[in-house]
Amino acid sequence: MKSAIVVFPGTNRERDMALALRRATGRDPAIVWHSGEALPKVDLIVLPGGFAHGDYLRCGAMAAHSPIMAEVKKRADRGVTVLAVCNGFQAACEAGMLPGVLMPNVCLQFVCRDVHLRVERSVRPFTGRYNAGTVIRVPVAHHDGNYYADKETLDRLEGEGRVIFRYSAPDGTLGDAHNPNGSARHIAGVVNAKGNVLGMMPHPEDLVDPVMGGTDGLGLFQGLAESLAA
């Protein structure tokens, strides 16, 4: 699997993502600056975490208009797999690649801690390595991760099986106590209608190594590597 990580001014989790991709695929991803650089032909495009353009407007709003995003959207439309994490998720929503929006956390504070995610669907290319219903532990690190969409959209997402991860207790039960940001219906990750673009707030890339305290995030990258093996 060949992959590329898009770096906007202010992106800061490209290293974490590159480490995870290297661990899962044995290959270093291409790191591509948001302007003036051509996006190479790859199997996976990653929009990583950070504070693109400082997030001084709505989070991800300016990144959505970065020069490279037109190409990312075009490739996604053609079926190239896109993983959009945290700030990348915010940018993908702002760019119209995914429905909904990420609002400030209900607690109005930045939250960095491990959370539990219930895998809602085991589906390639993203979650084929996990069984549906499995609970994984990965960290969140964000100030604006409160997923919101109107009722019709949420119903449609659920009806079409596009909710991939939900915040949960370690045993998989749902409840506000396990939801770090107030997201609607505890949604932590969703895919687009075609199923080739995943947006999620948590950082699976930060728990892929036993020495860092866990490997629950690694399955996502191994699953991608398996599904997208060239």
């Binding site: 800061n12 995870a20 003036g36 997030d55 930045f110 690190a141 860092m212 305290g213």
Partner: protein, 749 residues
């Protein structure tokens, strides 16, 4: 008077007044200091010149009260590449790498405007580190707030924590460790000390000494505005009730610009373009240009019309003294301008050639084609006043006789109160607002003794911590200074690291008072003694004096930030034991020292008594033993003993692992409370599945090791098989205080 000393009086800036004694006083210069200025200038200075001298000679930049004593600290050693005097200290960590680190205070601005004050403190210390060519890999912060009941405290805690997070999180540098205390002595002067650790190639360290007459001086980063003018002078004065009127002097931070500046600088540093580089921190363009020229023994000429400015009609005074953030000054090699400009254009940052180096040894400022400032560089640095201020040694307090104390008999009740007290409660509410995981290298997260971040692809890691026990320093400065160093050394040891070197942040009151000066001298003496004994040199530091409001000083607070090396991150331990059945073992001797303890203050309401003595030979011996045991895999967890003593540390270990703990009775011959809550130094708790071997090993080395009890699968902490308290109850007390404090409804007054 020498010919070179005197210059023609330059053109006065627009609307700039002539100097009066009143203006001199407002600039924090004593009349005799001003006389010295006139003498080396050979004439009266203009406003901009006066401003420049006043910041260069401020306590913050010149260390005029502390320098004499700072010189007594050990600053060399086999790992030291660069000691104090540069932007940050540099040590050799092997494998061609260097660790670059420093701690710096932003106390005064944080009290006036907590969010921006703390944020720009973090921004400033990160610039100090990356200006030397290092990528920041870990941030720490040491915070001291006032009485929790003081009406401003909660607002300050909330603002400072959000500000630190707001800046560090955006920069993508994990904030992995720190400390936070509360005491009424800080109600009018909080302390915000921020530390950054960076990694660089050992042979690619960048320094600030200018070289190459004619070479261009280049300004990069953000534009200059009117913010932060005279911040360094403000940081060198006491507060009074009208300090809040100083709000406009607090700078405003832009972490996004700093992130771009970081990436642009590191990108340019990978080429050969840079001769010298210096960040614009305290005293902005003044300090950076003067220090670069002075270190290179050169002069510098600046054209202020070329400085990128945010506002029109800025005077030379404003441009030279602005503390606008996210700016750097560089000297480039000839012919590298275009290449360097392209790098900064890529990141959409300002890049302006603002001057060049000269042979004159003078700082010459031009605006509108006229000379507006002309002064010799050397005296600005070298003739800064140096004071040998009179001091009174703090009298050693009486040792408290534990047998005379009337104490509650309920040990577990006291434990619960201590675990839920402001100083000992969990600081999770704080560190969960900091991104402590970004970069994907955090091996040991906040909440334990030291944090560990992986170096490159591993297996090595860096351990980092910050420590100080101000109540010990207040009781006996020399002991307190030594203890702060010893505790930092212990914390690094507790995760299995070799302690390498320290940075210090010395926070005190007004040094012109002999009693305060006595605290400064005593603490530095104690620190020096401990650093020498533990082979733990000081490579950088910062001094913050005049932390007083209406004459009331803070507790003496010499914070020690320390860095250690972990040879193999897979062998690190945390404070959490691994499984039920492991034995808890105490390393070190317990006398039940209760003077100046948290127990004495929180349970008995008394702040008095001699602090626990620091036996540096015992520290070394016990620490070396523990580190060896960790590396050999003989212990599964380790926690150093400090605030609150044995029972607090044991409970923290049980909570961290969510394991129960059955503890044996107190050591015979000691009052129970003194055994459980005494704060004797040089002690560790370790957990092991083979206690016999460890105790035997310790005996061979002449080290006291004693089994204390067993971790269990039950969810309670039990004393002597009788009294018991559930982990849930302890956890609620420990985790509950800070969130409850921060979310309590605002009192109506």
């Amino acid at each position: 008077m020498t010919a070179s000393a005197k210059s023609k009086t330059p053109t006065h800036g627009r609307n700039e007044p002539t100097i009066t004694p009143e203006i001199v006083r407002e600039h924090g210069l004593k009349p005799e200091e001003y006389d010295r200025v006139v003498q080396f200038m050979g004439r009266e200075p203009t406003m901009v010149e006066l401003g420049i001298v006043s910041v260069m000679w401020s306590e913050h930049c010149s260390y005029k009260s502390s320098r004499r004593w700072l010189k007594t600290l050990p600053t060399s050693g086999k790992v030291v590449i660069q000691g104090p005097g540069e932007n940050a200290g540099v040590i050799d960590i092997g494998g061609g790498l260097a660790a670059v680190f420093k701690m710096e205070s932003h106390n005064h601005p944080s009290f006036i405007e907590p969010y921006q004050g703390a944020a720009t403190g973090v921004g400033g210390i990160m610039r100090d580190v990356f200006t030397m060519g290092a990528r920041p890999v870990a941030n720490l912060n040491a915070l001291r707030f006032g009485d929790p009941k003081h009406p401003k405290t909660r607002h300050l805690v909330g603002g400072v924590v959000a500000g630190i997070g707001g800046y560090g999180n955006c920069m993508g540098v994990p904030t992995v460790a720190g400390e936070c205390n509360f005491h009424a002595a800080y109600s009018g002067n909080i302390l915000v000390n921020a530390m950054t650790v960076g990694i660089a190639s050992k042979d690619r360290i960048f320094y600030s000494a200018a070289a190459g007459v004619g070479n261009q001086v280049v300004y990069v980063g953000a534009k200059t505005g009117r913010d932060g003018i005279h911040g360094a002078t403000m940081a060198s004065a006491e507060f009074s009730d009208d300090s809040e009127a100083k709000r406009p002097t607090v700078q405003v931070g832009d972490p996004f610009t700093e992130k771009l500046l970081l990436e642009a600088c590191l990108e340019l540093m990978a080429t050969d373009a840079i001769v010298a580089i210096q960040d614009m921190g305290a005293a902005g363009l003044t300090c950076s240009s003067v220090e670069m020229a002075d270190k290179g023994g050169l002069g510098v000429e600046l054209d202020l019309d070329k400085v990128p400015v945010r506002e029109t009609h800025m005077t030379p005074y404003e441009i030279m003294l602005s503390e606008s953030q996210e700016r750097m000054l560089m000297v480039l090699k000839p012919g590298r301008e275009d290449m360097a400009r392209k790098v900064f254009q890529k990141y959409e940052l300002d890049f302006a050639v603002v001057g060049h180096l000269t042979t004159t040894g003078r700082l010459i400022l031009k605006q509108g084609g006229k000379v507006v400032g002309d002064m010799p560089v050397k005296p600005l640095v070298e003739q800064a006043p140096l004071y040998d201020r009179p001091f009174v040694e703090t009298k050693a307090p009486a040792v408290i006789d534990t047998k005379t104390l009337q104490v509650p008999s309920d040990i577990l009740g006291s434990l619960k109160r201590l675990l839920g007290s402001p100083d000992l409660c969990s600081k999770r509410w704080i560190w969960e607002q900091y991104d402590h995981l970004v970069r994907g290298d955090t091996v040991i997260r906040p909440g334990g003794d030291a944090a560990v971040v992986r170096l490159g692809d591993g297996p090595k890691g860096l351990a980092v911590t910050s420590d100080c026990t101000p109540r010990y320093c207040q009781a006996h400065p020399k002991t307190g200074g030594a203890q702060a160093v010893a505790e930092a050394w212990r914390n690094l040891t507790s995760v299995g690291a070799d302690p390498l070197a320290v940075t210090d942040n010395l926070n005190f009151g007004n040094p012109e008072k002999p009693a305060i000066m006595g605290q400064i001298v005593g603490c530095i003496q104690g620190m020096g003694e401990a650093c020498r004994a533990l082979d733990f040199p000081v490579v950088s530091g910062n001094v913050s004096l005049y932390n007083e409001t209406n004459g009331e000083a803070i507790l003496p607070t010499p914070v020690i930030g320390a860095v250690g090396l972990v040879p193999d991150i897979a062998r690190c331990v945390t404070i959490a034991p691994k499984r039920a059945g492991e034995t808890l073992i105490l390393i070190g001797v317990t006398q039940g020292w209760i003077g100046a303890s948290v127990y004495l203050r929180e349970i008995l309401g008394r702040e008095e008594g001699a602090p626990p003595p620091v036996d540096l030979a015992a520290e070394k011996r016990n620490g070396d033993f523990v580190r060896t045991a960790i590396r050999a895999g003989r212990v599964s967890a380790c926690h150093d003993l400090s605030d609150g003593g044995l029972l607090v540390a044991a409970a923290e270990m049980a909570l961290a692992a969510n394991l129960g703990l059955n503890l044996d009775p107190a050591q015979a011959g000691l009052p129970e409370f003194a055994w459980w809550f005494g704060e004797d130094q040089a002690r560790y708790l370790v957990s092991t599945s083979d206690p016999g071997a460890l105790i035997k090993e310790a005996a061979k080395s002449g080290i006291s090791a004693k089994g204390l009890g067993t971790f269990t699968a039950a969810s309670a902490l039990t004393l002597q098989g009788a009294q018991s308290i559930s982990l849930d109850e302890l956890r609620r007390a420990h985790e509950g205080w800070l969130p409850a404090y921060m979310s309590a409804p605002v009192a109506k007054g």
